[in-house]
Structure formats: C-alpha cells, structure tokens
C-alpha cells in the first residue's frame, strides 16, 4: 500500500499487517499523547483508544500538537479523532472524553495490546500502572519537565513507577517549576511511540530500564532500574 511505502523495510509487510490489527490505549491527549497518537496513526496501528477528560486551554499551545487557536475550549479527544481521520482514515479511533478512574480503567484497557502513559500527574500514573498490571497489558511510560524527558517500559507486575515516584504522595514534579517544552514533549512522545511499536511487533526494547534525555546539556542516558 502506497501509504506505508516509506515504512518499508524498517517495518516489513507482515509487521505492517500485525500493526493493522493491534489496539493501543493512549491515556492523555496533551503534549505527549498528541504526538504519540500522531506517530501511531501514521505508522499504521489499526485501532487507537484515546482517553482524556480535558478541554484545550491557551497554555497548551506551546507544545500540544493537537491544540490550535481554533479549538480552544474543545475536547482534546475530539481533536485527536479528527486529526487521525485526516491523517489516516484506515485507523479506527475510539475517543473517550473522560478521565481514567477506578470505574472505567479495566474497560478502557480491555482488548488493548499496549497502553501508553501520557498523563500529567503522579497519582493517576500510579493508578494506570496498577490497572495495566491487573489487565496484563504492558505500559509505556513517558514524562517531561523542562528540557528533560524520560521513557520506560513496564511489563505487568514490574511496578517500575514505584521506583520513580516517592511514597510521600506528591502529585507533580519538577515540571511545576521548569514547565514543559515543545521539543521535549515531541521527542519523549516519539520515543514512547517507538517503544509501543516494538512491543506490538515483538522487537527488543527497554527492559526494566529508563531512557532519559536532557536536551539542554545534549545528553542521553539509559540505565537499569532493577
């Protein structure tokens, strides 16, 4: 198919067919989620379930791919669905205008091959990790603060976020002071999308490790957590 010609041969025909029948849950459609959705739709993941209860605000415009001056005040999930329909109508989008909760988490994870954590607060991230463990779904975590981005892949039961976040119950991190920059979000999200695709295709990826990039110093580190 001409649409996927430039995926070849990094993605072969059999792998492309696999992606077409896969389903990925993207939780959060902001700075990370918008770019993750863009990458997964363009590469040809056939089914995307996108979840976010927020509406676009002016403060999103510095980094969130799906935001524009035309859709302020409108649901992020609606923009995600419209964007995917415009980019790749072969992709089925299940847009869920809601926050992740104890009531809906397992339903949202149902039938998903991979979940992608594009959230913006610690408690919901930890909750998603727990729900993904219960559902037996691998989770690709991403987080940003200023010039720094981080990605890790969490297999059910690994609970790696318990190492990244303290027991003291903070809900936010360094991003409160450092903000979130466009290129940091785009790069981190692209890494997340690549790890998600590798999981879908059975390719080797991050294993109990984190990948961290500092775009200010120009350095990247990958190291094991356990």
């Amino acid at each position: 198919m001409e649409r996927y010609l430039r995926n070849q041969d990094a993605i072969d025909e059999a792998e492309q067919a696999t992606l077409a029948i896969n389903r990925v849950l993207v939780v959060g459609c902001g700075g990370l989620g918008g770019m993750v959705i863009e990458c997964l739709a363009r590469i040809g993941v056939g089914h995307l379930r996108v979840v976010d209860g927020d509406l676009f605000e002016a403060s999103n415009l510095n980094r969130q791919l799906l935001s524009s001056t035309m859709n302020l005040g409108r649901p992020k999930t609606l923009a995600a669905k419209q964007r995917v329909m415009a980019v790749n109508p072969l992709v089925e989008v299940d847009a869920v205008q809601a926050n992740l909760t104890a009531e809906n988490a397992l339903e949202l994870l149902a039938d998903c091959d991979v979940a992608v954590d594009c959230l913006d607060n610690i408690p919901t991230r930890l909750f998603l990790q727990q729900a993904a463990k219960t559902a037996g779904v691998p989770l690709v975590h991403g987080a940003v603060a200023g010039w720094v981005g981080r990605v890790c892949v969490i297999q059910p039961g690994e609970d790696l976020l318990n190492l990244l976040y303290p027991e003291s119950g903070e809900s936010q991190g360094e991003e409160q002071q450092m903000g979130t920059l466009s290129f940091t979000a785009a790069l981190t999200a692209s890494w997340q999308a690549a790890e998600a695709v590798k999981l879908l295709l059975g390719k080797s990826g991050l294993q109990a490790e984190i990948l961290e990039v500092d775009l200010l110093s120009g350095s990247a580190n990958r190291f094991r957590l356990v």
Binding site: G142, V144, L163, Y165, E174, E175
Partner: protein, 65 residues
Amino acid sequence: MIKVNTEDYPWHPGMTVTALLDEKLFTFRHIIVRVNGEFVPEEDYEKQLIVDGDDVLVLHLMAGG
C-alpha cells in the same frame, strides 16, 4: 566504589547523600533518592551516610505530559 544509577562512582568515607548530590551536580529541586532500593526522605539527605558498595539511584522527579 558505589553504584550511582548503575554506574561505578568513587566512594569516600563520610559520604552523605547531600555530598553525593553536590558532587554529581544534581541541580533539580525535586529529586528521588533510593539507597539499595530504600527511599531516602529529603530531610535525611544530610545525615544519611552512604557506605562502600551501596547502590544509589538518583532520579529527577517529573510527571509532566
């Protein structure tokens, strides 16, 4: 020798968490420190001694999306 984020790092007697953070130039205000897997609260950084052979994890606390 100790491990800091899985890499070897020279240890010296009397090394505290604060000393290590200063030496390694960890400048973020929000940092997670675990020594041999155990979370170290910020108020203990000055008094928590690191001993030879410890496995130290120092991570930025970040959750933006």
